[in-house]
Amino acid sequence: MPDSGLLFWMLVIFIIVLAVLAKWGFPVITSMVDKRRKYIDESLGLAKKADEKMANLLKEQARIIGEAREEQNKILKEASEAKNNIIRQAQEQARDEAAKIVAEAKTRIEAEKESALSQIRSQVALLSVNVAEKVIRENLSSDARQQELIKKMVEESLKIEDNTVN
């Protein structure tokens, strides 16, 4: 049979131990352990997140570098195209300009020629009128004289024309 005195003391001692430890002992330990566990879990989570971020950053970096490279290629290509365009345009422009100048020169020459011809024509008409006048005015006796006279007159008129043309 359990002894009543021992029973009594055991009850008292155990309840005191329980009270003391339940108040100041175990809750402190367990709560601190839980706190630390939570902290460790959180830290692990953060580390994981940081890792993910890092991986994302690396990916992003690679992507940006790739994009930059593409951009560079594009720009280079565009630049070379632009260069070619400019050269071509310049060439075209130069050709056009040259053609225009040539055409202008041609038209001017044509015009000069035209005006010269018309002047010649009027001069010739004038000469013919003068010659006819002289022929009519003077009395021509012989063919030789007439020929010489005509020659002389043509030469005169040519001289005159030369003076007027120039």
């Binding site: 359990p2 002894d3 155990f14 330990i29």
Partner: protein
């Protein structure tokens, strides 16, 4: 075969080496003051020695040097027919003190008794600080010192910046182990935090008492957890913790369990069994702890006794048996270390399981089964 032979020769050689020592140690009981019939005296000695060590006493007997007992007297607190008495147990040595004396033989063997008017021995109300009570006090102080020492560390240090060292480093893993594996594993959800201090106290209280019981000299050696009064109180506390805070589902399962109707309607077979189970569960806890620890002590003491029993069989047998008993004594002490932990663990675990059963089915009603299982899984993950 060769190996076994080698061990055997070593064993026998060692046994003979022990011979002289065994002879000397065997001489002391033989030289005792009264030795008319050796055989009879020996067997009586062993029995009283065994029960003297396992049982309780009013003084703390440490050892005997020559004819002189070394004893720590303990206070006796008694309320007899003449009122309250409080005195040291050493006063009882020289006959009755204030009408009180230690009974020898009879119903109250070894207890303090007084004589009533008709000359019969009656037992007064006795709350003496006996050896076991003193042992319990010492062990309780050790438990409180250990746990408060650990919690003091946490108060003084930043738990997020330092790893626990010293006492906290020893206690914390054990607390965590019991708290996470046993308590949170058995008691569902939010209830585990409520019962954790009780169960942890039970664990450390039993563990320290078991371990101190193995130490053969003061301040250990009191057979506290091997005493049924101690285990009775512990089992009673678990009984209270289980039944006084149980939910409706628990009581419904006892009085109206989900079994075929004919098992509960005309003759309430299952309810009666379940009702008995309320009491048998803590009873089993009480007996298990008590029997394990007491038996362990009894076995170790028996092995030691073999040395003295075999004295009369001659030096050869006595020497051999001394070696064997020392060998098995060491073995048993190691086994007891294991048992000390296992019994503390088993008591705590079963208490936790019983408390868990008393709170079962709450989550099922409110949250559904799947969630309650999920709530348990983080505990397993943490392991």
């Amino acid at each position: 075969m060769k190996r076994i032979g080698k061990y055997l020769t070593a064993f026998i050689a060692a046994a003979f080496l022990f011979l002289p020592a065994a002879d000397v140690s065997a001489a002391s009981p033989a030289n005792g003051p009264e030795s008319p019939a050796k055989e009879k005296e020996n067997s009586i000695d062993i029995k009283s020695m065994l029960f003297g060590h396992i049982g309780d006493s009013y003084e703390w007997h440490i050892t005997k040097i020559g004819a002189k007992d070394i004893i720590i007297p303990l206070p006796v607190i008694v309320r007899s027919s003449t009122g309250w008495h409080c005195f040291l147990s050493s006063k009882l040595e020289d006959g009755p003190y204030k009408g009180l004396y230690c009974a020898e033989g009879g119903k109250y063997d070894g207890k303090i008794v007084e004589k009533d008017a008709s000359g019969n021995e009656i037992r007064p109300f006795d709350i003496s600080i006996t050896k076991n009570v003193a042992g319990l006090m010492i062990n309780a102080a050790i438990v409180i010192f250990l746990i408060l020492g650990c919690s003091r560390w946490y108060r003084k240090h930043d738990v997020l910046k330092e790893a626990p060292g010293g006492l906290a480093g020893i206690i914390e893993p054990v607390v965590t182990f019991i708290n996470d594996d046993v308590i949170k594993g058995s008691i569902p959800g939010e209830h585990s935090a409520k019962y954790a201090p009780y169960l942890l106290t039970v664990f450390f209280f039993i563990l320290v008492n078991n371990l101190m019981g193995i130490i053969p000299v003061f301040p250990g050696g009191a057979n506290t957890t091997g005493n049924i009064a101690v285990t009775l109180v512990l089992a009673l506390c678990t009984f209270v913790a289980v039944n006084f805070f149980a939910n409706r589902h628990y009581w419904k399962d006892i009085f109206w369990p989900e079994v075929p109707w004919w098992l509960k309607v005309p003759v309430p077979l299952i309810p009666v069994t379940e009702l008995l189970g309320i009491f048998t569960k803590p009873f089993a806890l009480m007996i298990r702890l008590f029997a394990n620890i007491m038996a362990g002590h009894a076995v170790i003491l028996s092995f030691v006794s073999i040395i003295f029993i075999t004295v009369k069989m001659g030096p050869a047998i006595n020497g051999t048996m001394t070696f064997i008993s020392v060998f098995f004594g060491i073995f048993m002490d190691f086994l007891e270390l294991l048992v000390a932990f296992i019994q503390a663990y088993v008591f705590t675990m079963l208490s936790a399981v019983f408390i868990g059963l008393a709170h079962e089915g709450e989550n099922k009603k409110t949250k559904g089964n799947g969630i309650s299982q999920e709530a348990e899984s983080p505990v397993i993950d943490n392991q």
